[in-house]
């Protein structure tokens, strides 16, 4: 194979995958009124504008709440389930695993529509709680899967030893198992957070007056204006994701779990 092959192909692939972000960052630093690349002069005015738009602030708060709260709820439901599936002979275990992980295969837009139509409309259920349920259901498969993987890497006999030595089953779980799967739980948390925060289709139908997730708000804003503030916000979000992933990789070796 030619010596030029590797750098050429990898350069082109990276240009295609990463290049657009460079352009978005540059466009968001523009001093001009409309979206353009190369930018008309340099300024931070659009980056500042992002923080001044009221709806961005509200929807950022909602997205944060859903991503953190939904992931925690999914872990509270998912950790015991993953533990039971790994350590017990669960009747209908495979069926339960399928039910719990189905939200990954079924398109999110359908889940959102179904919840709107059969929960929010007939029972006057609030949009925000419905969004919370939808995001939790969406993250649950990731929580179960990642925690299951780290439980499978942990020998089951250490808890049996703890129980034989007089610890209760619950005590053995919290004092022996939990400390050993902490890394997996944190990895599941980060994966769930990123998935929920970036999620669009599930939240599409579950939006109401004043209740919108950030990506949905960006889509709406994009339709009415052509200024670089969405580019600036996109760049800021990209940096936020990168920061989270960088820290996770640094302290956890995140990529081992995904």
């Amino acid at each position: 194979m030619s010596r030029l092959y590797t750098p050429t192909i990898l350069g082109l692939v990276l240009l295609f995958l990463i290049g657009p972000f460079v352009i978005i960052i540059a466009a968001s630093l523009s001093a001009g009124e409309t979206l353009a690349f190369p930018p008309d002069g340099l300024s931070l005015r659009w980056v500042i504008k992002v923080f001044e738009v009221e709806s961005f602030r509200t929807s950022f708060g909602i997205s944060m709440f859903l991503a953190i709260g939904g992931t925690l709820a999914a872990l509270v439901l998912g950790i015991p389930a993953a533990y039971a599936l790994a350590r017990y002979k669960v009747p209908f275990g495979e069926t339960i695993r399928t039910v719990v992980s189905a939200p990954i295969i079924v398109p999110g837009i359908i889940v959102g529509l179904a919840l709107l139509r059969y929960l929010v409309v007939p029972f006057q259920f609030g949009i925000l709680p419905a969004l919370f349920l939808a995001h939790t259901a969406l993250i649950l498969p990731y929580a179960v899967r990642v925690v299951s993987a780290s439980l499978n890497n942990l020998r089951g006999d250490i808890e049996e030893a703890a129980v034989l030595l007089g610890s209760s089953r619950t005590g053995a779980f919290f004092r022996v198992v939990m400390p050993n799967i902490r890394g997996g739980i944190l990895a599941a948390f980060i994966l769930g957070f990123v998935t929920s925060f970036n999620q669009v289709p599930v939240s599409l139908f579950l939006s109401g007056p004043g209740v919108r997730t950030l990506p949905i708000d960006m889509l709406a804003y994009m339709e009415i204006t052509y200024d670089p503030s969405v580019a600036a916000l996109s760049a800021l979000l990209a940096f936020m994701s990168l920061g989270i992933v960088f820290l996770a990789e640094r302290f956890l070796g995140f990529s081992r779990y995904v």
């Binding site: 590797t6 990898l10 995958l17 657009p20 350590r87 339960i96 039910v99 079924v106 529509l113």
Partner: protein
Amino acid sequence: MFQNRAEAFALVLPAAVFAGVTFLVPVVVLLSEGFRGADGWTIQAYIDFFSHPLNRTVFVRTLKLAAMVTAVAAVIGYAAAFAIVNLPPKGKGRMIGLVVLPLMISPVARTYAWIVILGRTGIVNQALTSIGLSDEPIRFLFTETAVFIGLLQLFLPLMIISLVSALENMPRDAVPAARVLGANWFQVFWKVILPLTREGLVIGGTLVFTGSMTAYITPAILGGSKVLMLETLLYQRVTVANDFVAASVIALILIVMAFAANLLLKRLATARNKR
């Protein structure tokens, strides 16, 4: 293994009930709506749906775009995965990190970048007009090409990482052995590499195909109402026409196709391995 059934049930029940109530039941009810007629069950809604030319166009376009994205991603994926596997260990880790990186970033942000690139005053049009290839800006946005490019950029990383791990699991000396025995590069790929990495290709292909088929953001931003795909059509039917029957039909099509793609590709993989 613990044997206590009651304990096991108590541990899995909350998650199972939650997924059942917030997910399974509403989705099943939604799907059943497409089969409900004035007097009993019927498939009339499906006949109506497919007798509409626009719906047929959207259906075919969705399949076509998903298949094209998968095919092109496979070709680029193999080329890139080869190059990555042959890098020294440190460079390999970094390169995989760079390829995976975009997956962590909001798809809205990732798709928005293409507006800056492909728009009327975007980079591509500026370049074309300045070198005199075109007198006026060419419309790229709201075309199938734009949606195709957006989807490819969104899902290519999944194909590359699947193929990288498949190539890494391939016996080290398979390729040199085939070369020594006189095979040309085309034969090496077709007879040695492809059969040995089929599983990775199938995993990557399934992820890319179902991902493209069920994409919402990319066709919404880059295709608009000119290039509808099944998900954007579903959204439009509900918000514009309040047509929940059509929505239910599209939902079932999407779910069936997602599961079918999974099954079909799984079957292909095992059939080849048995030979």
